[in-house]
């Protein structure tokens, strides 16, 4: 990975011989830290596969009598399946809408000349500052006003505010060479063809990255779905798994089985698309990756 000139490489190698012990120690320390950091997740997995009486009796490294009872119980006796459906509907809709709306808006600001363009751009930039949790009361008033409390749409609407996504699209569209646009315009393409046939496909990678991070964010959203879904059958998984606790008391194998199931889709999304998640995060912080 590191490319160095031969002379310095020889020199560094020489020094490495000297420093080897330190480097090995540092690596060992890193592995120990990583294991400690990961331990709570490991412990949750182990506990979720224990029989309920074992969770309070044993702290063994692996379940002594591995079982799926916790998972089966959650699937059969709670609304987990319904919450999963709700979470999927909400997260997929939020992701699709955020990406589509932001791409269109980013394209307009980047490529089109229209009155109010600069004002719109500054407004989107300024909205970084607005703390969305401060708006919960008024979001609820609005959503209740149109009769959308306890509906998927009511949960989705306030989650569609995504200035960062629009900003990133605008910046990426800015860097598409002008020649592409000019050539396509001469060929008689309209703005929609330009956006959907040229600009979006050219930036497919960034769309994937933004979609994944938006999906993870929507799946994990707590505060607003918690307020907007008061009926247990409208809850998302993220909100729902805490209501199980109220109902069961202390049944940790079941609780943790529910937690593992709730965390599974987002963890899988991350593990499958590690590079894209990294890209989206560094971009959202304003670092060009």
């Amino acid at each position: 990975m590191t490319e160095t000139s031969p002379a310095s490489r020889a020199y560094i190698a020489g020094r490495r011989g000297h420093f080897d012990a330190g480097a090995v120690l540092l690596t060992i320390l890193t592995v120990i830290c990583a294991c400690l950091w990961f331990f709570p997740i490991y412990w949750a997995l182990v506990t979720s596969f224990r029989p309920e009486d074992e969770t309070v009796k044993s702290m063994s490294v692996l379940p002594l009598q591995p079982t799926l009872d916790g998972y089966l119980y959650m699937i059969r006796n709670s609304n987990l399946a319904i919450w999963y459906v709700n979470s999927t509907i909400v997260s997929v809709s939020v992701t699709a809408l955020v990406v589509l709306l932001s791409a269109c808006c980013g394209y307009a600001i980047s490529q089109l000349r229209f009155p109010g363009r600069t004002a719109l751009w500054w407004m989107i930039l300024a909205s970084f500052m607005i703390p969305v949790p401060a708006l919960i009361v008024n979001h609820f008033v609005i959503i209740a006003g149109v009769g959308l409390v306890n509906t998927h749409l009511g949960i989705i609407l306030p989650m569609l505010i995504a200035p960062v996504t629009a900003i990133i699209y605008k910046q990426f569209f800015d860097s598409v060479p002008k020649e592409f646009r000019e050539a396509a315009v001469i060929d008689g393409a309209n703005e929609f063809q330009l956006l959907f046939r040229i600009f979006l496909p050219m930036n497919w990678g960034i769309t994937t990255a933004l979609a994944i991070i938006t999906f993870i964010g929507a799946w994990n959203a707590f505060l607003w779905p918690f307020l907007a879904a008061q009926d247990e059958r409208m809850m998302t998984v993220t909100v729902g798994i805490t209501s199980v606790q109220d109902a069961f008391g202390v049944y940790y194998a079941k609780l943790l089985a529910g937690a593992v199931l709730a965390g599974f889709p987002v963890t899988a999304a991350y593990l499958l698309f590690q590079r894209r998640v990294t890209q989206a995060i560094t971009l959202s912080a304003g670092i060009k990756g």
Binding site: L26, C33, A34, V56, L101, V137, G258, Q274
Partner: protein
Amino acid sequence: MLKSRKSEVLAAIVLAGPFVALYAWMFIYPTIQMVHLSFQNAPLIGEGTWAGLKNYTKLLSDRTFKTAVWNTAYFVLLTVVPGTAVALAIALMVSRLNGWFQSIILAMFFVPYVLPVTVVYILWDWMVNVQFGVLQPVIALFTGKPVNVWRTIPWFMPGVAIVTIWWTNGFSILLFLAGIRNIPKEIYEAALLDGASRTQVFWRVTWPLLWPVTVLCLTIQLILQLKIFDQVYLFSMGGRTQVTMVMVQYIFEQGFQRNNGGYAATIAVALFVIVVAVSVLQLQAARLRRGT
């Protein structure tokens, strides 16, 4: 020329229109309504009466509000700088590794970041469960007896802060890793050829070059943690919430549990002002730094 301009405006309306409409409906309108509501004596849903500055004078003498502001500040203090320092340390450790080994170690540090807050809550509630928690023997080493972390006031905020650092640090780790990757290799080579030690390389080369990323992490964390709600709410469920109250939680309590929409909006305005002020200060500071 004129014709193409007109079609451009039309296309802009169609493309940016939905975003702008939604933005106005879900962002600008509620912001204005929030200020309006803060001057009213109103329930959460339904008509209110004009109250003038009454909510604001009440706010100034409200002890729970003071507690909420103090707790929010305390939480910020416990998470922002310590969290960023931990993230930097982890990023430095991970950046030394290569290939698949690096990917695995990084994933072990990063995975908590993608988990829902309720999962994090259930995990840690179990970890420190006063009877069966796997961490209780460790806690007992220091205190001599098990501690009910979420029900013991002095332990509560530090506990939530540690969990928060564990949960949200992945974000800062990635930023630091990107920062470290952007440092030209030649600088390290030169430093090593000059016979600099590992610690010298860190303090004289890595750290100064990572300073802009550090500032970025600190400001992002600061603004994020001012809006703390989820973890504090979850861990304090069933406990004495008045003592561990944070600002967003107080908005929630007044608005949704006590049905004081007007007063909740007043608290929201206070939070709003604090967050905007911090953001503006940070932008000004960034501009000054760039100017010099």
